[in-house]
């Protein structure tokens, strides 16, 4: 059995070569699904370290993007041994960049970190109309809706999206978090969201708090 702490540390340090080496050796050892699940958990904990280092100002957005890729690569390496059975999911998020905004870097970082934390994420994409959020929420009944935007105009679109969810009678069934450059406490109140963040790692923590 491999050293879980070593793996966690290598993920935290974003040491790609080492992570892939550890995981390849692990896969070659024909592990059980239970063992594989422990490895997946260690990878998720490693992402927690990345999030902490970001909050401390040692990592920056570029490092988070790299971390997201590294995690995807890690899970792909593990696929043959985790089989079709996915890890137990902790909650469901419908995510998208609101209409009028084409930016998605922050959203994508949040998505990888949320997935790493065990959420099932439905990513609608960029420039998404209110109806796209409403329809998806009706369809998958998520715990959380995440709205992203970089431009200041995204605030108005977020507000319109919350209104749309209200009118469809869905607002009370979900928590809403907004993220991106222009969001502030005031913007959050104005939009009618439950929480806001400019930090993807913090956003994931808020979501974890909601589904506990």
């Amino acid at each position: 059995m491999i050293n879980l702490d070593e793996l966690k540390k290598a993920i935290g340090e974003l040491d790609e070569e080492k992570v892939i080496q550890i995981l390849t050796e692990f896969v070659d050892s024909n592990p059980t699904e239970e063992e594989a699940q422990k490895i997946v958990n260690a990878c998720q904990e490693g992402m927690g370290i990345v999030g902490d280092l970001f909050e401390k100002g040692e990592y920056f957005v570029g490092d988070l993007i790299f971390a997201g890729e590294l995690l995807t690569e890690a899970i792909n390496t593990l696929k043959p041994v985790i089989g079709g059975k996915s890890a137990s999911k902790v909650g469901t998020i419908v995510l998208g960049t609101v209409h009028g905004d084409l930016h998605d870097i922050g959203k994508n970082i949040f998505r990888s970190m949320a997935e790493a934390a065990g959420f099932e994420v439905y990513d609608l994409g960029i420039d998404q109309p209110v109806s796209a959020f409403v329809e998806k929420v009706k369809e998958v009944k998520p715990d959380i809706v995440g709205m992203s935007g970089v431009l200041t105009l995204a605030i108005e679109s977020m507000k319109a999206t919350v209104e749309g969810l209200k009118q469809a009678g869905l607002r009370d069934k979900i928590k809403i978090i907004i993220g991106g450059n222009p969001v502030t406490k005031e913007a959050c109140e104005y939009v009618g969201a439950d929480a806001f963040t400019t930090n993807a790692a913090e956003g994931v923590k808020i979501c974890q708090g909601w589904v506990k």
């Binding site: 974003l14 957005v61 570029g62 209409h99 905004d101 084409l102 870097i105």
Partner: protein
């Protein structure tokens, strides 16, 4: 002299004083609003106005009468839909609300690094532009030529229309004729590589996976971005505008190794020719203030975030500071609060000179600002930020002889010919054709590279 001419003279002298290291009579009010904001102000359909820039003139004239500024209140635009549409741009697209934006796209793959390093301009034209502009398709050469010709005609037309409006307003209202888009424009080599070549995600991978290639690519791109930014006329007053993008999202050690060397060299080389730069420090540059100090004297530093006091203390004697005042205040605060706050910024940033008033960033929507707050702030700066010691020396003095740089590699490509190269291939051509042909060569170079910034 008419009142307008006298006012223009005053405006020219306050800007020139700042650039000549003197305390001006008052702080220049450098407010210019983007195309989109003014189109909304005029009640125009944003999409229609961007397709027909001429129709914005009435709204521009009205906003110039409404808002005080020492430069034309209309900034113009960099992005019109015509040429991006004709070339089927992937990197500049109009969103559902009419705003042209730059989605995350990849124009260059990791395996292109070696070719980029060996023949940068060839790689950009053969591989990157065709990926970002689907109608610039070398596999369909005749349509490629037609589309390219159409797009450059559209570009010239739209820029001429908005340029004419700016010139007209400068004449009519006596503005300082040196707006942000009036000099040169370029990017730091690393940003050029990041924005449309590798993308934010791609470059974040490369920094860790192949840092040597990133550094070599920045060096290879250097002559291109250098040439791109050169202003048509060199004087102490023309500026090269360089918006900076990636550093706040990087670790300092990556910045120091990969971003800074080619960028610093760029500004040093311009300084050695007597050219100054205005750099927009997007996001938060607090971590990098000591680096910024090392840039050539009188670099105009436009800050989006940061502590004005710390910035003034660290950089205010050497560089010209602008920005910082949060444009969002104009929406969220009352007129009185805005006025009080702008006085606070002036009290910190104006003493000792080397300060030009501007917002932290341009507003994006007309609804981002309350017009009465904007007017009150602009007029407060004009009336309150007045110096009693005009004419005195302001801080450190720029001297171009202080800057020496080894000559960089030349732009060498089969797609770009100097007059000598052209003449060697076409010995029959008359020397009378030289200025015209060389100018066209430069125009095409600038347009092609403009597609990638």
């Amino acid at each position: 002299m008419t009142d307008v001419k006298a006012l223009q003279q005053e405006r020219i002298s306050i800007y020139h004083d700042v650039y000549d290291d003197k305390i001006p009579k008052r702080v220049p009010v450098n407010i210019s609003l983007p195309f989109e904001v003014i189109a909304q102000f005029g009640g125009l359909d944003l999409c229609e106005a961007q397709w027909n820039p001429a129709i914005i003139e009435e709204a521009v004239d009205k906003i110039c009468q409404t808002v005080y500024s020492d430069v034309c209140v209309f900034m113009g635009s960099f992005r019109y839909p015509s040429f991006y549409q004709i070339l089927k741009s992937q990197s500049f697209q109009m969103a559902s609300n009419g705003f042209i934006q730059h989605p995350e796209v990849t124009g260059m793959l990791p395996e292109d690094y070696d070719y980029l390093i060996e023949k940068p301009y060839d790689c950009l034209l053969e591989r990157v532009i065709p990926r970002q502009y689907k109608a610039f398709n070398p596999d369909d050469p005749i349509n490629c030529a037609i589309n390219f010709a159409k797009s450059i005609l559209a570009f010239n037309n739209d820029f001429m229309q908005s340029g004419m409006i700016i010139n007209k307003m400068e004449e009519k209202y006596g503005y300082y004729p040196g707006g942000l888009l009036s000099g040169g424009f370029t990017e730091a080599p690393f940003d050029f590589l990041s924005d449309q070549l590798r993308g934010f995600k791609g470059i974040s991978m490369d920094i860790r996976r192949m840092p040597e290639k990133v550094a070599a690519a920045c060096d290879a791109l250097y002559p291109i971005v250098f040439k791109m930014g050169l202003p048509p006329i060199i004087s102490n007053y023309t500026q090269v505008f360089i918006p900076l993008h990636m550093p706040p999202f990087m670790r300092e050690k990556d910045f120091a190794k990969l971003y800074w060397p080619s960028f610093k060299r760029l500004l040093d080389e311009y300084a050695s020719m007597g050219i100054h730069c205005t750099i927009f420090c997007e996001h938060d540059w607090t971590r990098y203030l000591d680096y910024l100090y090392e840039l050539p004297t009188d670099t105009t530093l436009w800050f989006e975030y940061g502590d004005p006091k710390l910035i003034k203390e660290k950089l205010g004697k050497k560089h010209i500071i602008t920005g910082l005042y949060p444009v969002m205040n104009l929406k969220t605060k009352t007129k009185e609060q805005c006025v009080e706050e702008v006085k606070r910024y002036i009290d910190i940033l104006a003493p000792g000179g080397k300060y030009i008033f501007n917002f932290d960033k341009s507003p994006l929507l007309f609804s981002d600002i309350k017009l009465e707050c904007l007017c009150a702030v602009a007029e407060t700066v004009r009336d309150y930020a007045v110096y009693s010691n005009a004419g005195e020396t302001a801080g450190m003095v720029f001297n171009k002889a202080d800057y020496k740089v080894e000559p960089s590699r030349n732009l060498e490509s089969k797609y770009y010919k100097t007059w000598e190269q052209y003449k060697a291939l076409n010995p029959e051509v008359s020397d009378f054709g030289r200025p015209k042909l060389q100018n066209l060569e430069e125009t095409i170079f600038h347009y092609l590279m403009f597609l990638l910034v």
